[in-house]
């Protein structure tokens, strides 16, 4: 009896594990100024978030070692293409990895938006990021308006609608 119950609990637990935690979703936040984000890029350039006023910006903190980060990247690339020509930018800030660690992943999943190198994760800490991936949506005035701890499919209608709302403000 005890073992039958243990088996039931294990199956129940595994089912919960496979189902995963409650689906992550973009959460509106009290608007506040985005912290500084001025970093070198993987291709040798440099990006300063402050220079992107007038654009809606998706700031995503990620790492190659993080499976959910890798999982959502293709949807970010599709989102980037979906909103091409609109005042929208994606910045993917890599937490603490080297170019050599990042490049093999980009061969598997080619990305056209900038990969920022936060090699000492100082920006990750300044942005108070505790889990990866974590994303922020910044409005045209440089204010954080939405955040998300976890991964989503960024080109699904719910996420696109939130971004569209910021784009028309």
């Amino acid at each position: 009896m005890k073992h039958a119950l243990s088996l039931f609990l294990l199956i129940a637990g595994l089912s919960l594990s496979l189902a995963g935690p409650a689906a992550a979703q973009l959460k509106p936040t009290k608007p506040r100024a985005a912290p500084e984000l001025n970093l070198p890029t993987l291709d040798g350039g440099r990006v300063n978030l402050a220079d992107l006023r007038g654009r809606v910006v998706l700031v995503n903190f990620w790492a190659v070692w993080c499976p959910p980060c890798r999982k959502e990247m293709p949807s970010m690339e599709r989102l980037s293409k979906l909103l091409a020509g609109r005042p929208f930018t994606i910045l993917a800030a890599n937490a603490g990895e080297t170019a050599e660690q990042i490049r093999p992943f980009l061969k598997e999943v080619p990305l056209t938006f900038p990969i920022l190198l936060d090699q000492d994760s100082a920006r990750m800490k300044a942005w108070r990021v505790f889990v990866l991936p974590t994303s922020f949506l910044i409005d045209k005035q440089g204010q954080i308006r939405y955040s998300l701890a976890g991964h989503i499919e960024w080109d699904e209608p719910e996420a696109v609608a939130v971004i569209e709302k910021l784009l028309v403000e």
Binding site: L5, S6, L9, L10, A12, G13, L14, L16, S17, K27, T29, R32, A63, W65, C66, P67, A95, G96, S121, M124, K125, W127, R128, V129, F130, V131, L132, T134, S135, F136, I144, S147, L148, A149
Partner: protein, 257 residues
């Protein structure tokens, strides 16, 4: 039942040749004042060294933990590997940790202390389960009849945030502020926790704990039981006992803070 248990271990031994599961293992039960019956797998060979109380259960039975317990037993330690969710029929998920009563944890520690007089007790846990040894120690310390203190605790990738919100200051589990222990924190380098290890150390030290933090290069949280474990993680998982042993030995020599 014992025959089934022995057969299971023989099978595990055949499947995992590196495992030393035939190091003496027994199933032990402790009945607490609340009536709760806590079952542990006790690994002990000579058993004159530290007593390692390993609190687990979030992922059900993990063979890597049993193998590590056997490795530690071979080095003279005595390991009580205990699933703390099973006694309450809690599902093996992170959220169940909050439903384990502090009084039972403290009561169990009292039993362990009385059973192992004069030997250092070292607690071990990982991830969300790390809240349990800390709650056990904090609740035990408040008891007027608590005997001599614990040697300390080894915390593997402790996940002690309370619902962290992106962009907000971290709020730790209140037990962090109630903890006064010698702590060895092991943090995988490929982990968001790696970048916050100093903040966690500071939070523990502010409450009076003595903390050493060790980084595990190339590994991720849950490295020894990940479905996508890479070669390095599998190798580290196979020698988990070796990874833990020096930290347990070091804590065993410490006096409580």
């Amino acid at each position: 039942m014992k025959r089934l248990y022995a057969a299971t271990h023989l099978l595990v031994c055949l499947l995992f040749p590196g495992a030393t599961v035939l190091a003496a293992v027994t199933e032990e039960t402790v009945t607490l004042a609340s009536g709760t019956v806590v079952t542990s797998h006790r690994y002990a060979d000579q058993a004159d060294g530290a007593v390692v109380l390993w609190l687990t259960g979030q992922y059900g039975r993990l063979e890597e933990e049993h193998r590590a317990a056997a490795q530690l037993a071979k080095s003279g330690m005595e390991v009580w590997l205990t699933d703390w969710l099973a006694p309450y029929f809690l599902p093996p998920v992170a959220g169940s940790v909050a439903d384990v009563p502090d009084a039972d944890l403290a009561d169990w520690l009292t039993h362990m202390r009385q059973r192992h007089v004069g030997r250092p007790l070292v607690l071990v846990a990982s991830g969300h389960m790390t809240a349990l040894p800390l709650r056990a120690a904090a609740a035990w310390r408040q008891r007027s009849d608590a005997p001599a203190g614990l040697a300390g605790a080894v915390l593997l990738w402790p996940l002690l945030y309370q619902d962290p919100e992106p962009g907000e200051e971290p709020q730790y589990d209140p037990v962090v502020a109630r903890t006064r222990l010698n702590l060895a924190i092991l943090v995988p380098m490929s982990s968001a926790g790696y970048w916050w290890r100093e903040a966690m150390q500071a939070a523990f030290e502010a409450a009076g704990s003595r903390v050493s933090v060790s980084v595990l290069p190339g590994l991720r949280d849950r490295f020894y039981h990940r479905g996508d474990a890479n070669d390095l993680e599998q190798a580290a998982g196979a020698r988990l006992g070796e990874i833990l042993a020096p930290h347990i030995a070091s804590l065993s020599k410490e006096t409580p803070p």
